[in-house]
Symmetry: C2
Subunit: 382 residues, 2 copies
Amino acid sequence: MIEFRVQARSGEARCGVLTTTHGDVPTPAFMPVATQGTVKGLDAADMTTLGVRLAIMNTYHLWLRPGPDVVAAQGGLHAFTRFPGAIVTDSGGFQAFSLAERTRASEAGVEFASHLDGRRLLLSPEEAMRVQGLLGSDIAMQLDVCPPGGAPRPVLVAAVERTTRWAERCLAAAKPGQAVFGIVQGGTDAELRLEHAERLAGLPFAGLALGGFSVGEPNPDMHRTLEVVAPRLDAARPRYLMGVGTPADLVRAIGCGVDLFDCVIPTRNARNGQAFTRQGRLAIRNARYKDDPAPLDAACPCPACRGGYGRSYLRHLHLAREMSAARLLTLHNLHFYGALVAEARGAVQAGDYAAWARARLAELEFEASDEDHAGPQEDATP
Amino acid sequence: MIEFRVQARSGEARCGVLTTTHGDVPTPAFMPVATQGTVKGLDAADMTTLGVRLAIMNTYHLWLRPGPDVVAAQGGLHAFTRFPGAIVTDSGGFQAFSLAERTRASEAGVEFASHLDGRRLLLSPEEAMRVQGLLGSDIAMQLDVCPPGGAPRPVLVAAVERTTRWAERCLAAAKPGQAVFGIVQGGTDAELRLEHAERLAGLPFAGLALGGFSVGEPNPDMHRTLEVVAPRLDAARPRYLMGVGTPADLVRAIGCGVDLFDCVIPTRNARNGQAFTRQGRLAIRNARYKDDPAPLDAACPCPACRGGYGRSYLRHLHLAREMSAARLLTLHNLHFYGALVAEARGAVQAGDYAAWARARLAELEFEASDEDHAGPQEDATP
């Protein structure tokens, strides 16, 4: 199981420690997305170099390939992937909707055809927990119903209701000793979210997540909802905002009391040639970098910047479609996200979060990009 | 410039040190292929971890992209790529024939259309040297004419003649201070090879290479020719067998007195899921590894094996087309090749090469694979 202790507060923002059998995770924390058991382009040693203590892996993908029995036979995801930190697995529901084919949802679960070989599978709450139990993650996510952004209220209400029923089934089916997080739905309807949060808080979940954000709704609507809802999620449990977001999203959400995040933005954008820097985002393919010898960010101590790789070289590697480009930009962007949440932690400890966030958001203003909020939450690579 | 000193001999085999302004390279040495300025999937720090002192990069590719002026403006390939060892650049002639389109060779050089954008270019001996001068490699290769395996004698003779004339033009056009290697052609015609070797030895090349091997000829024909030709290449200069080969090829060729090798086999095969081990080659996609927790080679200290990644996990990564699979297998295979030549060096120093080679070849017998000798010498990725 896990334990969670809040160490300091500054306004609604808080910092703490999530204790797992695979190490302590200082919060707020950002989890890199290791969909198929690896962050694309990195290995477990890179994760240690980056100081990553918590990563998220994908139940849908690992269920289909290599299969939970293969992972279990190797001793679970930790032994299998050699990642030395703690691991969250999502439930797979999101991918069963977004990636699979001929999906049909019912009270029983999500029936779908595998995008790999077309075989028909049923992802029920019980199956989601069985698979996650075999994967052996530290934290399993309940199966939930995640409506698209802008769904009408009856759809949101139905999603909340079914998610609650599935929450109970998931808890009943959970592997003993594995922590389970409940997922609050309700779109951008704060009232619905609060009701759902209260119902889930009544169940013995180890943490509470906010799902169904960054699924197509306008970004300001998400933040307006978070401001009302996040501070009222049970304060004793870790609060996890799923699939979010940009650096600015993190700064704002931490200010509302969120502790945990996962998002493909730093890694997916790295593969597309975008680097996060204190001076703004940098599109490495831009011709202005053709002869630029500077590293991505002169002040950055990540392996790519410290290694002295210049923008000119990184641009060349990216245009030449070399894996090394994806690798180096991924190392850089994950370092950026890790440093951002570490700074936020420091600001909470200093009792100074609001001032820090204001200053940081002014720097990050350019960050808001519709593109970031248009894609799927997960690496969609089949 | 470079210096070369033979330190010990055992039969025709020898070991020595190639001294460059970018460090000393113990020979025999195997150069990883970093076609576009990076070994695919690795970064410069990985090269240091592997102990790579010498790598080969590709003039044709770097000429077309990012262009020699871009590289020169960054201070040459060493500064550009951050690879801390010595660098050989090939002349680009091989790729102008194998990769480019609408190629037309004449005494002036090789005219071709870029495979990237179709622009028409002339790779003359002077241009090959100008480009390599701008790239700033430690060792530039002369432009040569490389007939396919099994070419009739008149074609071989014409290739030798033109290569000799181009040798003189290359030396005349070389950048002061950059070492240049001549390339001996002549197919599997030992007499022609010996004549050509003698003529090139009369020119002030810093080293002599054997080109035009592993271009489609039967593998035993190559070794028969090497046995006659390699020992009679000027003993004072480093001898470089281009584009070769399998581990067994290296063991045999070192026995004939070859000092330097480059080949895509360890890296290309890694990307295709093949690992070299003391127990033979291992095709990681094989179903027998589905549940195998063992590393690629239990006795291997490479980052992939030492990191504890099991075959089951590596198979999963490979089948899921994760870059990490290519990266980990590449680290392993390059370590295998590096360890093989280091062992060979030890055997020469021990005065025991023939016995060592016999024992090693018995282990490596399974290695001979027609497939290895069918492909191009270079990473063909455009």
